[in-house]
């Protein structure tokens, strides 16, 4: 027998048993299974006996034997709830300020969560409205470029047609080509993007037509307009059957008949169009357009396959096309063709190069949920702190409830149910706030066309989940804390309420850290914005205007006309232009190493006109035949190619040898979101000039710009003017940067507001608990200084710890945030964090100051009388 003493049954099943089984059955059952265990030990290994024991316990969990949970936690009856709400409502009304803080904080947080929900909903549903989305795939290829395998969204021109012929399982193929044209209808003449597509486009994609028939697209002379374009050219009239003139270039025009107008596009779309014409019009636009040219690419080729099994079969037979393609372009071999399903195309957009889809939401997808969690956590901590304060004023009520028979569970239930009501109320206000304030503001400010579909079932699920989460997280701790007091202690008044509660301190600490992080983000973004605005573009973008012309004669005529204008200092012609157009080229070193680079073909005056700075070598000379075989490169190219002796270095471009004669300082052709790429300048043949750049006297920019427009209108009344100020070439970049700044400032302000409200609650709690002490101090002659010292002492360590933890965290957070968004972020120094700390410390001090003031103003007698 003694051998059994050290081999006992396992503990954990016993605990389960004790928790679930009715008390009156416990002794018997425990005894039975224990006896069985010892009986089994004699027959089987201990392990097996233990396993049997555990299995028996699990099998004992039967309804007859279980504690009746519903019975032992008797839910308070309806009148009791009415009483709860009455008392809690009175309690709230007695302190309208704290009630407001509670409800307001939660509403704001819930409102922000809803915005994030709307955003995620929008982001998830992009391009998901196409009925055939599960059958449509984009043809892509992978290739090794600069040592990395990258995926491209383009496809060789003949591939689509070949796939259609060779595979029976392909239901539809749609090739998409893009072109810039001028479109004219009576007096409306504009530059537009047009898409040449196979007629299957409207069958594959779900773009219903408002007017007209999708079949009409198979007519070579038909054109289908988007709703926006229909309004732009024809107003609200039905334009079906009307003629519209498409000017492909100076010599080629074609009249199309409007045969369809698309209905309003769904808001969450990525793939869309302005104008659609039959693919074969590419031959009209460009007589030399060769659809069998494997070395040329189409922006997109879509296929429609009924099931994915068919697709795999196709993917296994793509090798011949790869061979054809690589024979046509031996310099840039591709690794493989593959297909990307439309359903996940938008998600992958950021990793697909040159694809028809674009991803502008990466920033939001990461940032928004973080912000939502931040806010809800802040609001919950607030609520917790303030709930404890308010409960301190209801201790007597809790005492009375307990004396007349409420147990701890009932008190917890009371507080939780109150909390659910308050949270629901906050959620109601949150929805209203979100719908009427946040959402319109956010849509206007971000440009994302979000909507909050109130009838969407998932929204309500989300809301209920959010509500329960918030109610539990914010209410559980106060409920547990408040309910644990014993009535005797409450009535004896021997409670030191809230004075030494480690949890409230931790909550406050976390709150301060979160606030510190958001303030830092706000400050750093403001600093970064300033930095970005003043960052050098690498050339002098001010006092510059430019014009884009369709051909060389137009350039000559405009150039000649502008020479007469006063105030023009310098002028240059070029085939490409900074900020507008850089052509991709492939450079080959004598060692046969290849590099991708950008090329700008310019004239000899270009560097000086644009203010590009030569740091080594020389620029071009117009009359030198040798310079037609010369490169001027940027620093980035020298760095990327690790050239030790860049000047005189030989390269091959399209089979022609070139030599580097000069190096210019790095410049930003594109905005600061993009990294500077290796770039070469070549001397353009005069016949290739398409851009006219003019450096003007300071202050004369607007006059020069208007002169350009007038001269152009005089020379070519048919063709709309294209050009502008060089400073505007980055489009909405600065607007976007300002937008992030505003957004971060708003978020920081809300966070600070919430945090300081929470702080206010906690300080008030502490002071309320010590009001007698302070009164006695005052009676004994303590002045404002000593009272302030006593109060500050309590918070110094707490605030110091929060700020010490908060500062490095904020710094890292801001760093990560900036790096994620900007290719050239501001070099982060400590000023941003320091300013945030100062702001936060000021807020903390002023909150404490309000309470010091309260004590100073308090009449000591009143304080002593207070219970």
């Amino acid at each position: 027998m003694s051998a059994f003493n050290d081999i006992g049954p396992p503990r954990w099943p016993l605990n389960i048993l004790r928790f679930f089984i009715k008390k009156e059955y416990l002794e018997e059952i425990e005894g039975d299974i224990e006896e069985q265990f010892y009986y089994n030990i004699e027959r089987w290994p201990v392990k097996k006996a233990k396993r049997i024991y555990a299995v028996e316990v699990i099998k004992l969990l039967r309804p007859v034997l279980l504690k009746k949970l519903g019975h032992s936690i008797t839910l308070p009856s309806y009148p009791m709830y009415r009483n709860y709400f009455k008392t809690s409502f009175r309690g709230l009304m007695r302190n309208p300020l704290t009630a407001f803080i509670n409800v307001f904080g939660l509403s704001v947080a819930i409102g922000i969560c809803l915005i994030v929900y709307a955003f995620m909903l929008y982001d998830r549903s992009i391009d998901q409205f196409h009925v055939n989305k599960h059958e449509i795939y984009l043809t892509t290829f992978t290739a090794d470029r600069e040592g990395e395998t990258q995926q491209y969204g383009r496809a060789p021109r003949p591939l689509g047609e070949r796939l259609r012929q060779d595979f029976a399982q392909i239901k539809n193929v749609c090739r998409v080509e893009e072109g810039k044209v001028v479109i004219k209808n009576e007096d409306n003449v504009f530059h537009e993007q047009i898409r040449y597509v196979d007629p299957s486009f409207l069958d594959m994609f779900t773009f219903p037509l408002k007017w007209g028939a999708p079949k009409s697209l198979s007519d070579l002379n038909s054109i289908v307009l988007s709703e926006d374009m229909s309004i732009k050219y024809f107003g609200n009239d039905n334009p079906l059957g009307r003629d519209i003139l498409v000017i492909f270039n100076d010599t080629t025009k074609k009249t199309f008949k409007v045969s369809g107008v698309a209905a309003t596009f769904p808001k969450s779309r990525d793939i869309e169009f302005d104008f659609l014409v039959h693919f074969d019009n590419t031959k009209v636009a460009d007589r030399t357009y060769d659809t069998d040219d494997w070395s040329a690419f189409l922006p997109a080729t879509f296929i429609q396959v009924e099931n994915s099994v068919g697709l795999q079969a196709i993917e296994h037979h793509l090798a011949p096309y790869k061979k054809l393609q690589n024979e046509a372009l031996p310099d840039r071999p591709l690794v493989a063709f593959s297909f990307e399903p439309l359903t996940t195309l938008h998600e992958k957009a950021s990793t697909l190069h040159d694809a028809i889809v674009h991803d502008y939401n990466v920033e939001g997808r990461i940032g928004m949920p973080i912000i939502a969690v931040f806010m809800i956590v802040l609001a919950c901590f607030n609520y917790i702190n303030i709930a404890i304060v308010s409960a301190s004023k209801r201790l007597k009520e809790i005492g009375v409830r307990k004396v007349i028979g409420a147990n701890r569970r009932k008190v917890i239930m009371q507080f939780l149910s109150e909390n659910v009501v308050v949270t629901s109320f906050a959620a109601g206000i949150g929805i209203v706030l979100c719908y009427f304030v946040f959402l319109p503001w956010f849509v206007q400010f971000s440009g994302w066309e979000l909507e909050l579909p109130l009838l969407h079932g998932n929204l309500w699920l989300f809301l209920i989940a959010l509500l329960l989460f918030t109610a539990l997280v914010s209410g559980l701790y106060p409920a547990l804390y408040v309910s644990h007091f014993e009535p005797v202690k409450i009535f004896r008044g021997s409670l030191q309420f809230g004075k030494r509660n480690p949890f409230t301190r931790v909550f406050l600490c976390v709150q301060l850290i979160l606030a510190c992080m958001t303030i830092t983000a706000g400050v750093v973004f403001t600093q970064n914005n300033h930095f970005q605005n003043n960052r050098s573009w690498g050339y002098d973008q001010k006092h510059l205007v430019y014009a884009n012309v369709p051909d060389a004669p137009a350039f000559d005529r405009l150039h000649a006309a502008m020479k007469q204008q006063p105030g023009i200092l310098q002028s240059a012609g070029s085939a490409d232009h900074l900020g507008k157009k850089i052509s991709p080229v492939l450079l080959r070193q004598p060692s046969h190493q290849q590099y991708e680079a950008g090329r700008l073909a310019v004239d000899a005056n270009y560097f000086e006109t644009m203010g590009l700075r030569l740091i080594a070598g020389r620029g071009f000379q117009e009359d030198s035949e040798n310079d037609r075989r010369a490169f001027v490169v940027n620093e980035s190219l020298v760095r990327t190619l690790k050239l030790k002796q860049p000047l005189g270095q030989q390269f091959e471009l399209n089979g022609t040898p070139y030599e580097i004669i000069g190096i210019v300082q790095d410049f930003h052709s594109q905005n600061f979101f993009n990294e500077i790429r290796p770039t070469v300048f070549t001397l353009a043949a005069p016949g290739d000039y398409r851009y006219l750049s003019l450096r003007v006297e300071s202050g004369a920019e607007e006059r020069a710009y208007q002169a350009l427009q007038q001269q152009w209108a005089k020379l070519y009344p048919e063709i709309p003017f294209q050009g502008g100020h060089q400073v505007d070439t980055w489009g909405t970049y600065f607007h976007q940067v300002n937008r992030s700044e505003t957004f971060n400032k708003v978020i920081a302000t809300i966070a600070v507001l919430l945090a300081s409200l929470g702080l206010y609650g906690l300080v008030t709690l502490n002071v309320s608990g010590r009001i007698k002490e302070f009164s006695i101090r005052k009676m004994l002659g303590a002045g404002i200084r000593s009272i302030a010292a006593v109060m500050l002492r309590q918070y110094t360590s707490l605030v110091a710890v929060s700020l010490l933890l908060g500062a490095p965290l904020s710094y890292l957070f801001a760093q990560a945030y900036l790096d994620m968004l900007f290719a050239y972020p501001m070099p982060l120094d400590y000023t941003g964090t320091a300013i945030a700390l100062i702001i936060l410390a000021t807020i903390v001090l002023s909150v404490i100051a309000t309470q010091i003031r309260r004590i100073v103003k308090l009449r000591s007698v009143e304080g002593l009388k207070m219970e």
């Binding site: 002794e27 018997e28 059952i29 039975d32 006896e35 069985q36 099998k59």
Partner: protein, 112 residues
């Protein structure tokens, strides 16, 4: 019989208890039944049957002695009530009656 329903398993448990007399406690009942039925039973099924039967008034119980093997916990000894005894007897009578009629039925079936 009227309203009271007695399941087959419950009937077996009742009979076992009657047979075991003073030794009728949870584990013993289980082992006895396992032996007779030649199948493994779980403590849960026995216990729930016992509690149900007690609720229906077929059983009474009281605590018995504790042993070291049981970790000092007392046994609960079950005893069938007179009501249960009557019900069992009734059931047996009904069954016996039915059995008696079987040979006739069987032979009449054969003649068809």
């Amino acid at each position: 019989m009227k309203k009271t329903k007695l399941g087959e398993f419950e009937e077996l448990v009742l009979l076992t208890i009657a047979a075991l007399r003073e030794d009728a406690y949870g584990l013993k009942i289980k082992q006895e039944l396992e032996e007779r039925l030649r199948e493994d039973l779980s403590m849960g099924s026995i216990q729930s049957a016992l509690k149900r039967l007690e609720e229906k008034g077929f059983l009474t119980s009281e605590f018995g002695e504790a042993t070291q093997k049981r970790g000092g916990k007392r046994k609960r000894i079950y005893e069938i009530t007179p009501y249960a005894h009557r019900t069992l007897a009734e059931l047996k009578a009904i069954r016996a009656d039915l059995w008696k009629s079987i040979p006739k039925l069987a032979s009449s079936l054969k003649t068809i």
